[in-house]
């Protein structure tokens, strides 16, 4: 790619990375706000959602422009196709972060720490954070091996999520007054599980972009 095309491709690449960083920090802040019941932090997350949407639109439009003007083929074409999907997934992750922040704003009680511990919430979040780390590294360095690490981790999240229903049921039976919190926590865990799925999708897209291998719907090691 020469000249204008090279410049535009690099710009898109930068936007992609930016979107990734932004959504990662949104999730981190939302989790922090949720756990510590920090209303101000939650407000910040909600306001930043505008920026996430703006970058989303920009990437969409730039991809259209790139396809129209530069007729990319091979790795450049896969790059455009991948980055559109990654962008879409990241925007969903951003939505989930905003959703979590909304819970904090609408609810005035802090979530009980024991409840969080029982459901392995911290561990769930750490897993997601490390998946973000893997994805960032894979994206920046075009490293397929690192991208593959997210598949196992997503399974961890699935496990935590599938256990959550029974655990929460048990806790509610112990103390009915925590029902409100428990339901909220249940929702948030579902959201985080969704975020894990989306991160796994992003991993697949990166593998497609770099190796032209479609690993979607395949059984992963």
């Amino acid at each position: 790619m020469i000249g204008n095309a090279e410049q535009q491709r690099e710009a898109l690449n930068q936007y992609g990375y930016e979107m990734l960083s932004l959504c990662r920090s949104q999730i981190a802040k939302a989790k922090e706000a949720f756990v510590t019941h920090d209303g101000d932090l939650a407000e910040e997350v909600i306001n930043t959602e505008q920026r996430v949407n703006a970058i989303d639109i920009k990437i969409e439009r730039d991809c259209e422009k790139f396809l129209a003007l530069y007729n990319p083929v091979a790795i450049d074409l896969r790059f455009i196709m991948a980055i559109r999907k990654i962008n879409f997934d990241l925007e969903r992750i951003g939505d989930h972060a905003e959703g979590i922040a909304q819970y904090v704003v609408n609810e005035d009680k802090k979530i009980s720490a024991t409840l969080l511990e029982v459901l392995d919430f911290e561990y769930m979040y750490e897993t997601i954070e490390s998946m973000f780390e893997n994805i960032s590294e894979a994206y920046e360095e075009k490293n397929v091996k690192v991208a593959r690490k997210v598949f196992k981790k997503d399974k961890i999240l699935d496990k935590i999520n599938s256990k959550s229903f029974q655990l929460i049921e048990a806790e509610i039976k112990k103390d009915v007054s925590i029902t409100g919190q428990a339901l909220i926590l249940f929702s948030v865990i579902k959201k985080l599980e969704r975020v894990g799925d989306l991160l796994k999708n992003i991993g697949e897209e990166i593998i497609f972009y770099i190796e032209a291998e479609v690993v979607k719907h395949k059984k992963k090691k």
């Binding site: 000249g3 204008n4 930068q14 505008q50 920026r51 703006a54 639109i57 259209e64 003007l69």
Partner: protein, 283 residues
């Protein structure tokens, strides 16, 4: 480049419910460009045949403007109005105003030779003179009366470097220009034009006779030149126009159908005719 990568956010409409913002990371330099060439109601006849039927257009400075359109639509004729190369064609007659840097170039008192020192031209088939490489590049300066050998050599080297040919020919500038390959010959012609340091470069299908690698080299060259020169390029190859130009003008049967930023023309042109042409639906 690093500064350009910083986000500069601009709020658009202040709708209370609409929370979207638009971003223009790389501020469009086109917004700052001035008009280099202003054409008002230009018409051209060859004898009784009217080749150009009243065109208005403003070519912006320091940009690449592409002229596209089917064969015989008048884009080459129109291009040649800018450096008055049509004057040599029998039966040529023009009406209308063409201003370059604000001066009408078709006024009687205009010295055509001076005009052409400001406006260079590269042709479709590479046409180096049957002389040495050095003589080819120095020609434009020599006819201006410049004799200083050091000055000439400096300019020749500078032009050859700008045309990305210096490394390939620096060891033997006395070699005949005709002994170079097609792509090299075309770069030699570009160097020849650059040596005179014009402000506008006109290119009439400069790569249509070349192989893909030479074409890519020259497109890269055009991209690098755009900062200092105003470039207008006629091309049959729409992908080329979309790759390298900032503005695109679509001509058909002597008329200007549409003229806009290249990205608009190729993503969402206004006129159906334009869309039909660029999608290849033209009859």
């Amino acid at each position: 480049m690093a500064e350009e990568m910083e986000i500069t956010a601009e709020k658009t409409k202040d709708k209370t419910k609409d929370k979207t913002m638009t971003l223009d990371r790389i501020i469009d330099p086109a917004l700052k460009k001035t008009s280099k060439i202003e054409v008002t109601d230009a018409k051209v006849w060859y004898g009784d045949f009217q080749a150009i039927k009243g065109i208005d257009i403003n070519i912006k400075a320091n940009s690449v403007t592409a002229f596209i359109g089917p064969s015989g639509c008048g884009k080459s004729t129109f291009l040649r109005l800018f450096n008055r190369m049509n004057d040599y064609v029998d039966g040529f007659r023009m009406e209308g105003k063409i201003k370059i840097d604000g001066n009408n170039i078709y006024k009687k008192k205009v010295n055509v030779e001076e005009l052409r020192k400001e406006i260079g031209m590269v042709f479709q088939k590479p046409n180096p003179f049957p002389k040495s490489i050095y003589e080819n590049v120095a020609y434009g300066l020599k006819i201006q009366g410049i004799k200083d050998k050091k000055f000439l050599m400096d300019r020749v080297e500078k032009a050859l470097r700008q045309a990305d040919l210096w490394e390939e020919v620096k060891d033997n500038l006395k070699k005949s220009g005709l002994a170079l390959s097609g792509g090299q010959q075309q770069r030699l012609c570009i160097a020849r034009t650059l040596a005179v340091e014009p402000s506008i470069i006109l290119m009439d299908e400069p790569t249509s006779a070349l192989d893909p690698i030479s074409t890519a080299k020259i497109e890269e060259l055009i991209f690098n030149l755009k900062d200092k020169y105003t470039i207008v390029i006629v091309t049959h190859n729409m992908q080329q126009a979309s790759r390298i130009s900032d503005y695109t003008a679509f001509f058909y049967l002597g008329e200007l159908i549409e003229y806009d930023k290249t990205k608009t023309i190729f993503t969402n042109p206004e006129k159906t005719q334009t869309e039909n042409y660029i999608t290849g639906r033209f009859g």
